[in-house]
Structures are given as structure tokens and as C-alpha cells.
């Protein structure tokens, strides 16, 4: 096997290289040659091809994402912004919190269990890399129709994968979403969020500086998994004698990651690293080029020192391998012995593979032969940027208003409500969430199905954080600009409903192909909406992730921007829960209902989409958040009204503690009548209960913030009674809880 060295590359300038098979465009390949002043070696070609891929380089989204910088609100809370492994915010008392959400959609379609598991593993390492102890995870999931054969294939595997990996790491899974829609058939979405906490002074960055400092690879050994398209290179360059093509999906070992977490935290506690980066997508190529690029640039790596699981790997494959549970640290030589001792304690393999140099290039040798000699910035940051064509999609011309039945009689109320709350999207998700450990670490104050997850950060002061992830993809389909705003507003409302103040935002933008101008228009509008509302509300975007190419043939998924909001709560013991806690409380709705059913679950149940998303009233929503925070001591319970409207919220609130309610929806006072009262998903609304003694105070507060307040009825009894319709809670529970077990066993 002849190595393709820098010398060979210079000597054989005309060698035909498989740049096309590696996914590079002709002009991109030409650009690489221009940067290097020669053809790339096969190893360099591998590095550029993977680092310049859509996934790593954000080449189609960059021109839009820069709005997050241009429109960034001033925020004292932001300690580390976009560009690092994850953003960091100040939550007070010397604590910093880092959180981020990422997609692992395509691998999870191919191999559901491992795809989902390594999705969790990857985001947890991103958080760990910032110097933080990971403290919780969440997983927004989207699938094709619940009864579709492929959903039965992917869902149990994905859920088991999220659980299998997260449970084994000892991270409470405190929320997420499970949504079914035909557009996700063949394109399930697996998004994973992780949150971590550290002291301000412990923040770590991905940077390599200090000539003579050592590059140390630690964690799992490197194998042939996750090499994907780069195996083209191996077969092209080295004709024979190779093992069969390896799986493109990575295989996770959560035990190795758990040990790596404990080992890393002990290393951080003793301040033994200059910089640190995890190995995720694009493996060593990404870690070395990003570390070097964020430092002075010079780094030398001896690739043969990388410990291998499979000794037959070629240098190109070692560079590309996405084997999981690996980290790369920059360490001062004087601290190496202590570093190695901690690694030995946790039985973690650690190897010095190179050092920071005075030069400007990343130089990688294999058994003494130079196979990579590149300016690292050109690999990590100077990838191609595309301003792809955008065009408003043709489907807008075909949208029609909803035409839904009028609901009046007790029988109509009962049958429509039971049909809705047993539909897969609204039905109880315990079948999924009971496979996740929500208790581990002993700090989970709230978890699914509460409005947001909440974690206690400090046992002595009761400081805590709340997190919620939300998206309404049908609204984004009808109006991506406002859809993004509405998703963010719902997420913030979920945070405020539990008593926490929204502080910062992350996002995972799941879309179809960027080469489709219609999809690109949806994306551009989404980013514009999100950047605008974050500026308006003063919420910093701390980072995010873009997943394109979620489409089958020419049919893209619904545009699905998943928004994760982090909130802070000074005293977690004051949190508000969503279930009715007792009888004889007043049930009230904050906010007005309108009669737009477009994009609602009820319309979806009737096979309709509608024609327009609601227009968000951002100032009113901001006043609502203030009202929720100030009014919190008055609330006995609070539950955001969103998917499934009041019908779903009442079902969840009554079933939580088995306390019924009597509700009056006078048709003449609600635009759209009882149907809208129960099923419309008008934003800006919250269902609360208060003691009658507190009603006056609440009313005064609502006037102060100019937010409408409506009394709906009172709690008590063993029925959910709506106008003349009496639904026994047992019947309601059966309808709500039996759907998922019936579908998935």
C-alpha cells in the first residue's frame, strides 16, 4: 500500500481523484487545489470533503444564520456565544449553564437504535466539552403516521436507543416531544438536547495554543464505524485487500461515555487542559483542524499513534472515523503526568498524538511521512458558502380554509373530545417516557408531561433551570416566518408557566433539501422570524444546528424549527405544576380564543390543514410572561394551552391527580363557538387554577398587564364536565392512555 504523501501529490499533479464520489463539487475541488497550490493528498481530500459537507460547514445556511449575529440582542447573561461547542449563559450565584440541541435524523432512519443512541452521546459530549457536568437531556422526536409500518420499525428502536444511552449515562430525561405526521415517513426526526452546569471559572474552550503543548486523544479506541462516504477513497486509492465496507452509522457504548464524563470532570476540576474538543462528526479531521484553527494554527500530529480497534484502517479512515466516546485535549507538558493518572483511575485510554507548533499549518504524518499539510482554517472555517436560490413554494396557491363541524350538543362535545385526546399526537406519551429515567441525579423538579422540565442546580439556595422544546411544524408550513416566532413563544410560555424566567434560546432547524428553492425560502423565512423575535424579546441565541435533506424524492418534511428555551428560577420549591391539585378551585383561562383552526390538531384529525397561521402578538406575549411570573404565588396550577387546545389541557390537568372539573363554555361569547373554545390552538393562552380568595388579586394583575382573564368553572368531582357533557375521568383516562400501547406494544 503506497501512501499518498505531500511529496507524491506534488510529483503526480494529474492523478485522478474521487472528489465527486466524496460529495465535492468541481469548483470546490478546484478551490482546494488553489488553497494548497497543488492537488490534495488523499488524506487532505478526505478532510476537506467531510469538513466542507453541508453537515459540517453549514454552506447553504451560513448566509442566513449570520442574522443571529447581526440581530443579536444585548445580553448580560451570555458568557459564550455561537461558534463554540455550545453556548453558555450566566444564571447567577456563580453558575453558568450550557445547553444545545442537535439532530441525528438520517442515522436514526437507517439504524434507529444506534442512530438515536449516538445522537444523545454526541450532544452530551458537546456539553461536557464546555467544562460542564451534563445534568439533563430532552428529545424532540417526529415520526410518520403512527400506524405506518415504517413507524413501527423506527419508533421502538429510536425510543429504546435514546433510553438505552441516556439511562446508562445517568442523565435524567425530563421532556421532549413525540409528534406524528405523514411528512416524516421515511424522514424521522431525532433531535436531542443536553444541558450542563459549571462554575463561571470552569468554562473550557476548543482552542490549541502554546507552542510545545501536547495533543492528547483520550477515550475509546478508533474503529471503522461511521466512516461513511470516505470509504470510497480507500477503495479507489487502495484497490485490494481491504475489509468489506463498514457501517456508515456509528455504534455507541454509553458505559465508555459515562466513564469518559467522570474522567473529564476530574481533569477539569484540576484545571489540567488548555483546550478541549470532542470527536463527533468528521472525527479527528474536525477536532484537530478546529482546535488548531482556534489557536495559532500550528499543530503536528503523528497519526500512527492513534490507538486502533481495527489495525487495518488506512490513514484516511483514521482521520474520518466517527467512532464515539473520544475527546481531544491540549495539555501543558508539566501537567501530563497528572492527566494520565486520572485517565488510569477511570481506565480510560489516553495517548499523546502530537503537539502545538510554531508554524501556521496542521501537519499530519503517518510513520514519518507527511500526508497532510494544510492551513487549518481553510478546512474548518473557510468552506464554500452558497447563496442558494429561494422562491415561495407553489403550495401556497392551493391552501384552503378549514371547514370543520359545528360542536354544540353534549354528544358532539364528548365524541370530538375523546377522538382528539386519543389521537396519537395528543394521547398520553407514557409508553415512551416511562422508558427514560427521569429521577437519576435526584434533582428533577419537573419532567414530562409537565410544561417544562426543571432541574435544581443548587441544593442550598434552590436555584434551578427550566427547559422546554417546542415546534409547530404545520404553522411553519403555513407561514414559516410567524411559525418560528410562534414556536419560540410557546417555548417561552412553557417556561414561564412553571415559574421560570426565559433566559436564552437554542434551535434545531430541520428542513428538506436546500437545493429546492421552496425549501430554502422556508428556511430563510424561519431564520428571519427567529432572529427578529429573539431581538424583540431580548433573548440571545446561544447556538443551534441545521439539518437539511430531510426529504424523500421531491417531498420535503414540514419545515420543523425546534426551539429550546432555557429559563431560570430562583426557588424551585415555588414551581407551578400543570395538574389540578384539589377540588373547589376556580378554573380560569388567561388570554382570548380566536376561531382560526388552521394547523391545529383538531383540523389534522379531520384531515385538514387550513390556510394561515396565527399572527403572534409579541408584546402581549411578553406581558403574559410577566403576568405568569408575578402571578405565580397565586396559581395552584398552570398549564399552557397549545396542541389540542383547551380540550387537551383539561384532559391532562384533570388526569394528572384524578381531580375532575366543571367547565362552562358559553358558545355565544367565543368567536367560533364551543368548537373554538375547546379545540382552537390560539397562542398566548394559559389554563390556571386559583383559590377563590385569590381571584381578586389575579384579576387586578391581569388588568395591570392588559391580559384578558376568563373564568371557566371549578375543580372537583370525578368527571370532566363541559357544558352538558359529562365524561367520567376513568373513560377519559382510558381514551388518553391506551393509544400508544395499542400501537407499539
Amino acid at each position: 500500500m503506497a501512501l499518498d504523501t505531500v511529496t507524491t501529490a506534488a510529483a503526480q499533479p494529474d492523478l485522478v481523484q474521487p472528489w465527486q464520489e466524496l460529495g465535492l463539487k468541481e469548483d470546490e475541488y478546484a478551490r482546494i487545489k488553489e488553497i494548497l497550490g497543488r492537488r490534495p493528498t488523499s488524506s487532505e481530500l478526505a478532510m476537506y470533503s467531510v469538513m466542507w459537507s453541508e453537515h459540517c460547514s453549514y454552506k447553504s445556511s451560513k448566509v442566513h444564520l449570520k442574522q443571529f449575529g447581526e440581530k443579536a440582542p444585548h445580553s448580560d447573561a451570555l458568557l459564550v456565544g455561537i461558534g463554540e461547542n455550545a453556548g453558555v449563559v450566566d444564571i447567577g450565584q456563580g453558575y453558568a449553564v450550557t445547553f444545545k440541541i442537535e439532530s441525528h435524523n438520517h442515522p436514526s432512519f437507517i439504524e434507529p437504535y444506534q442512530g438515536a443512541a449516538t445522537g444523545v452521546g454526541g450532544i452530551v459530549r458537546d456539553i461536557l466539552t464546555m467544562g460542564a457536568r451534563p445534568i439533563a437531556i430532552m428529545d424532540p422526536l417526529r415520526f410518520g403516521p403512527a400506524d405506518a409500518p415504517d413507524t413501527r420499525r423506527v419508533l421502538p428502536g429510536i425510543v429504546a436507543g435514546v433510553g438505552g444511552y441516556g439511562n446508562c449515562l445517568g442523565l435524567p430525561n425530563i421532556g421532549g416531544e413525540v409528534v406524528f405526521d405523514a411528512s416524516y415517513a421515511g424522514n424521522p426526526l431525532v433531535n436531542a438536547l443536553c444541558v450542563g452546569v459549571m462554575r463561571h471559572e470552569d468554562i473550557k474552550l476548543a482552542t490549541a495554543h502554546g507552542t510545545g503543548n501536547l495533543v492528547v486523544l483520550f477515550g475509546a479506541k478508533t474503529g471503522g464505524d461511521g466512516i461513511g462516504g470516505v470509504s470510497v477513497l480507500a477503495s479507489e486509492t487502495f484497490a485490494s485487500g481491504k475489509a468489506a465496507k463498514r457501517p456508515a452509522v456509528q455504534v455507541g457504548d454509553p458505559f465508555a461515555e459515562k466513564v469518559l464524563i467522570e474522567c473529564s470532570l476530574e481533569i477539569f476540576a484540576e484545571d489540567l487542559v488548555v483546550g478541549i474538543q470532542d470527536l463527533g462528526g468528521a472525527g479527528l479531521s474536525c477536532a484537530t483542524s478546529e482546535l488548531a484553527s482556534a489557536g495559532s494554527g500550528g499543530m503536528s500530529i503523528q497519526l500512527e499513534k492513534v490507538p486502533l480497534r481495527d489495525p487495518s484502517l488506512s490513514p484516511e479512515e483514521i482521520l474520518m472515523s466517527e467512532s464515539q466516546e473520544r475527546m481531544c485535549a491540549i495539555i501543558e507538558p508539566a501537567k501530563l503526568a497528572r492527566f494520565m493518572k486520572i485517565c488510569r483511575k477511570w481506565e480510560v485510554t489516553a495517548t499523546v498524538i502530537g503537539e502545538v507548533t510554531e508554524g501556521k499549518n496542521l501537519e499530519i504524518t503517518f510513520n514519518g511521512e507527511l500526508i497532510v499539510d494544510v492551513p487549518p482554517r481553510t478546512v474548518a472555517h473557510d468552506g464554500p458558502v452558497y447563496n442558494r436560490p429561494i422562491a415561495k413554494p407553489a403550495y401556497f396557491a392551493t391552501l384552503t380554509p378549514t371547514a370543520l363541524p359545528k360542536i354544540e350538543s353534549a354528544d358532539e362535545i364528548k365524541s370530538e373530545l375523546l377522538a382528539l385526546i386519543s389521537s396519537p399526537n395528543i394521547a398520553d406519551k407514557s409508553w415512551v417516557t416511562d422508558q427514560y429515567d427521569r429521577y437519576v441525579q435526584g434533582n428533577s423538579v419537573l419532567s414530562q408531561p409537565e410544561d417544562s422540565g426543571m432541574i435544581r442546580i443548587d441544593e442550598s439556595t434552590n436555584l434551578g433551570v427550566a427547559i422546554s422544546t417546542d415546534a409547530n411544524a404545520r404553522w411553519s408550513y403555513l407561514d414559516p416566518y410567524n411559525g418560528a416566532k410562534l414556536a419560540l413563544l410557546e417555548s417561552c410560555r412553557n417556561i414561564a408557566t412553571t415559574g421560570a424566567k426565559p433566559l436564552a434560546v437554542t434551535n434545531c432547524l430541520n428542513f428538506g433539501s436546500p437545493e429546492d428553492p421552496g425549501v430554502m425560502w422556508q428556511f430563510a423565512e424561519t431564520v428571519r422570524g427567529l432572529a427578529d423575535i429573539c431581538l424583540e424579546m431580548g433573548l440571545p441565541v446561544t447556538g443551534g444546528n441545521v439539518s437539511f435533506y430531510n426529504q424523500t424524492g421531491t417531498v420535503a418534511i414540514l419545515p420543523t424549527p425546534v426551539i429550546g428555551t432555557l429559563g431560570v428560577i430562583q426557588d424551585v420549591t415555588s414551581r407551578t405544576r400543570m395538574g389540578f391539585p384539589a377540588a373547589d378551585l376556580m378554573v380560569m383561562q388567561i388570554g382570548n380564543t380566536s376561531d382560526n383552526f388552521s394547523g391545529s390538531e383538531w383540523a389534522h384529525l379531520h384531515g385538514q390543514m387550513g390556510d394561515s397561521a396565527p399572527t403572534p402578538d409579541v408584546p402581549a406575549e411578553m406581558r403574559l410572561i410577566d403576568l405568569l411570573l408575578e402571578g405565580q404565588p397565586l396559581f395552584e396550577s398552570a398549564h399552557d394551552l397549545s396542541d389540542g387546545g383547551l380540550a387537551a389541557a383539561l384532559t391532562e390537568a384533570t388526569l394528572r391527580n384524578g381531580i375532575g372539573a366543571t367547565i362552562a363554555l358559553p358558545a355565544q361569547f367565543i368567536p367560533g363557538g364551543v368548537a373554538a373554545g375547546l379545540f382552537a390552538e390560539t397562542p398566548g393562552r394559559v389554563l390556571i387554577t386559583v383559590h377563590p380568595a385569590n381571584a381578586e388579586a389575579l384579576s387586578a394583575l391581569a388588568s395591570k398587564y392588559e391580559i384578558p382573564l376568563h373564568q371557566l368553572g371549578s375543580t372537583g368531582g370525578s368527571d370532566l364536565m363541559i357544558n352538558e357533557a359529562a365524561i367520567p375521568l376513568e373513560q377519559l383516562r382510558k381514551a388518553h392512555t391506551e393509544t400508544l400501547p395499542r400501537l407499539f406494544g
Binding site: 449515562l169 458505559f255 483511575k345 437519576v440
Partner: protein, 223 residues
């Protein structure tokens, strides 16, 4: 009163067990698997988790940790040991307790607030309960189905060595609804539910689990 909690590679509920001991009023002492030093603790908790990733069988590798050789000898001389979840599995693999924990009947990991009945309050870990007490404590495991031979089950029943039993529903197919057992001497207790996750209503479904930790402190004082 010093109570130790062993951290194996992959232990997860060790920090919660240490907290429970502290909340109960004891001195929590972290112990590490690789040392055989029990650091003068007067009782020890083997916490939940996935020690060694549950590789081979749950608890099968941890059973050979240096700390376990000290614990096994001490336990045979009456030293109080509580195994929770993975800790229970380790106690079975160590033959300090009979039977085995196998995959849940439904083949899924199950995390739920589980109703339980206290069957035996004569162990140092359950002395604060009254026989027949109904508790709600989380279970969270993939391999919690207790299995033993007919003779062993008969022996456990006749000797009153079943400490906790599932009630209302059996979440995992355990024989005789068994959620926890003790050895003949009564000093070694293994339970699948997680009492350390039910010590405060803020973060757990109840405070029913705290009595495990106050019981051991009272039992040791009474010695």
C-alpha cells in the same frame, strides 16, 4: 454515623445515595471500587446504575471489584449492606442474596412511581417502617424481574425474608411480586425500587424512601 456508598465505573445513583444518607442525618462516605478500604464505615450502600455497562450480566463484573471482597467478608459477619437496583444485582451475583434479576417481562426499561408494601421491618434498613406500610417509590430498570427456584421462593416466604412487595401492579414479572429481599441473618438487603430517589417530595414522588436511611442510623445507634 459513617455510611459508605460504593462508586463502580458506571454507577449512577451514588450521588443520590450519599445525599440520602446526609439528609437522614448520617455521614456519607464515598468508597471507590478499586480499593478494598471500607474507611471505617458502619454500613454500606451499593447504589443503582449500570456498573461496567451491564456487560456480561448486570453486576457480574462489579462482583469481582476489590471493594467487594471486603464487603463480602464483612457481610458474612453481620455488616449491614443495602443494594439498590444494580446494587441488588451485584448482591445476587456475589451470592450474598439468592436468586437473580432478569429482563423485565415487557422487555422495556421501566421508570414509574411504584406502589409497594413493606413485608419485613426487622432488618436494620427497614426497622423504621411498620409491616404493611404502603409506599410509593420509583423503580427504573431494564432487568428487575426477580427469579428464583421454587424451593428458594418457598424458603424466602416461610422465613419472612421478603422485604418489599409490588402492589397494585407487578411492573416486571417478578416472582411472588418480590421487590426486595434479605439474607437469612437480615443484615443484607437488596431492593429494586430506589428509596434514595424518594427522600423529598420536590424531586421524588414521595418521601417514603427516607426511612431506609434513618432506619440504618437508628439501628446502628441501638447496637
Amino acid at each position: 454515623m459513617r455510611v459508605g456508598v460504593v462508586t463502580f465505573p458506571g454507577s449512577l445513583d451514588d450521588s443520590s445515595a450519599l445525599r440520602a444518607i446526609r439528609v437522614a442525618g448520617g455521614i456519607p462516605v464515598p468508597l471507590f471500587h478499586a480499593s478494598d478500604d471500607l474507611k471505617e464505615v458502619q454500613a454500606v450502600v451499593l447504589p443503582g446504575g449500570f456498573s461496567y455497562g451491564d456487560y456480561l450480566r448486570c453486576g457480574a463484573i462489579s462482583r469481582f471489584a476489590p471493594i467487594m471482597s471486603s464487603i463480602i467478608i464483612a457481610a458474612e459477619h453481620g455488616f449491614p449492606v443495602l443494594g439498590i437496583c444494580n446494587g441488588f444485582q451485584i448482591l445476587c451475583e456475589s451470592h450474598l442474596l439468592p436468586g437473580a434479576l432478569t429482563r423485565n417481562q415487557g422487555l422495556h426499561f421501566v421508570c414509574t412511581d411504584q406502589p409497594l408494601i413493606v413485608e419485613n421491618n426487622s432488618t436494620p434498613w427497614t426497622s423504621g417502617y411498620t409491616k404493611g406500610d404502603r409506599l410509593v417509590i420509583p423503580i427504573k430498570n431494564g432487568e428487575g424481574s426477580f427469579q428464583a427456584s421454587t424451593e428458594t421462593l418457598a424458603e424466602l416466604e416461610s422465613e419472612g425474608r421478603i422485604v418489599l412487595r409490588y402492589t397494585e401492579s407487578n411492573p416486571n414479572g417478578s416472582k411472588n411480586d418480590i421487590a426486595g429481599i434479605t439474607n437469612a441473618r437480615g443484615n443484607v438487603v437488596g431492593v429494586m425500587p430506589h428509596p434514595e430517589q424518594a427522600i423529598e417530595s420536590l424531586t421524588g414522588p414521595s418521601e417514603d424512601g427516607l426511612t431506609f436511611f434513618t432506619s440504618i442510623l437508628h439501628s446502628m445507634v441501638g447496637r
